[in-house]
Symmetry: C2
Subunit: 303 residues, 2 copies
């Protein structure tokens, strides 16, 4: 059996701001990404390939805050972060602050496969991309009118630039358990609107936004990146299972529904354990999410 | 009571390569750094100030792989990473790939204090440094003849560039418990000799190289950065205590002496818990380390 879950971000998106038409568009985007990952898993492919494929589709979809359509920095530019992790061998790859790589998750995968390192940032990451034949895109490729309007609205009220109570809805991620019992996770994001150039969030940080270990679970998070860095959010779920003996569901509940609200932190996560159990939970009003398990129907939801 | 421990790196340093004179120089550097942190703690100062002060001294000491005297990238340049964390409120600051900031740990502290973010990398981190009045230094300030020779030796044998079995001895760090019961941790490094430009190691990653939480412990690691990223090393110690009920000593033993060798990873760490218990352990031949607790003599060791 296989299991796959994806997310397109969690946040305070009021129902009134999401027209039925726009909601359908998001659901379609999620369906396409889920399908790309599922095709690999249904063909006995590996979890690592499945999460990379699903996240690549979401990066290419301008609706989501990753790749094309990512949110803008205070400078009006796009800076992208991504990570991917192989739960079988604890191999990981991550990139941060990349400005000219169309699919950051694919670059993260190459860091995992083709370097002795785990994490490359900025110009060094882009140089590696060029060396391995990635064709650079102009930063304008990523920028959409919608994100420019969001930044303008934000910078019209400078005091809100630093507000952490408006999570950047749209970070994307995937977790999978393949038919061989291997786990993998991947996350990709443009971060938060109006972020300071050079800011690195939780998404590319192994243990914070992304984590996978066959012995516990695979996790991808979305929400208050700064809080998820401080709480080491993704690994916290695995540790509650590994050292506390919690089930995946209990670990996620304790973390997302109890600890984070106590800290004033909001967001959500998707997770899958070695048995293929999928848990998706969030303490925000909405979370774009979809999942499927072999032999079961596809599930796609926003609220 | 207060407790303070510092390290100057762990690795495979054969006794024959360390003359008595050079060993004394390292011990003197450690003594000065310990003294800077101890002065703050003895004056009822806070743990966060103490670890920053101790690490600043080690960054300025050319013997250690942090700040001046840091190891070189494949390009022959210096790129610095640092992080600091406040165990009282889980506040954290980190910088990576900075090339013109004399004391990266002080910049990390300012990220913690003066931005809504946790982690800044590359040019964005340097721009923040300039904005808050840090006077930039030329990259040459950091470069020593010794590190140039190390890089030359390494690049003479290109196949060794990627060797992970020669940890970069010299990463520095500090952990403290102050008289008010607060914990803090800080780590600073130049990474590994011959690293790819843009490479980020475990040191600046909250949860991997640096972590502090009053409810468990404060940790600073040194060794195989890539492995410590994958094992989420620093938070793993806290999680073994928090969720597994282990003592600090048992948590560190299980991780450093059992799990890491199984994975083929080497290194060490310093840690202190809320009662002021200090644990220093490493699975390498040597680790530069020093510690002190109120009313007890100073301890400084290499082997």
């Amino acid at each position: 059996m296989y299991a796959l879950a994806i997310h397109g971000g969690a946040g305070a998106l009021p129902r009134t701001q999401l027209s039925a038409e726009r909601e359908r568009a998001y659901q379609q985007g999620l369906a396409q990404a889920l399908s790309a990952g599922q095709a690999i898993l249904a063909d006995d492919g590996c979890a690592l390939d499945a999460v990379e494929a699903a996240v690549t589709v979401l990066e290419d979809d301008a609706l989501f805050n990753a790749g094309r359509g990512a949110v803008l920095t205070l400078d009006g530019t796009v800076e992208l972060d991504a990570a991917i992790m192989d739960g079988a061998k604890l191999r990981a790859g991550a990139v941060a602050v990349v400005t000219c790589v169309r699919n950051p998750v694919r670059l993260a995968r190459r860091v995992l496969e083709d370097t002795p390192h785990v994490f490359l940032a900025g110009g060094g990451a882009e140089r590696f991309a060029a060396e391995i034949g990635f064709v650079p895109v102009a930063n304008e490729y990523f920028i959409t009118l919608c994100r420019q309007q969001q930044l303008a609205a934000l910078t019209g009220q400078p005091s809100n630039v630093t507000a952490l109570d408006e999570p950047p809805l749209g970070t994307v991620g995937a977790v999978a358990r393949d038919s061989h019992g291997q786990l993998a996770a991947a996350t990709s994001t443009g971060g938060m609107t109006g972020k300071r150039p050079g800011r690195v969030g939780d998404s590319p940080v192994i243990g914070a936004g992304t984590y996978a270990d066959n012995h516990s679970c695979a996790v991808s998070t979305t929400g208050h990146g700064e809080w998820f860095l401080r709480t080491v959010q993704a690994y916290d779920i695995a540790a509650r299972m590994r050292y506390g003996g919690a089930s995946l569901s209990d670990a996620v509940s304790a973390s997302i529904e109890q600890r984070l609200p106590q800290l004033g932190a909001s967001g959500g996560l998707i997770a899958v354990d070695h048995r293929g159990e999928i848990v998706i939970r969030y303490n925000t009003p909405a979370m774009f999410r979809a999942s499927v398990r072999s032999g079961e129907p596809v599930s796609i939801h926003v609220y």
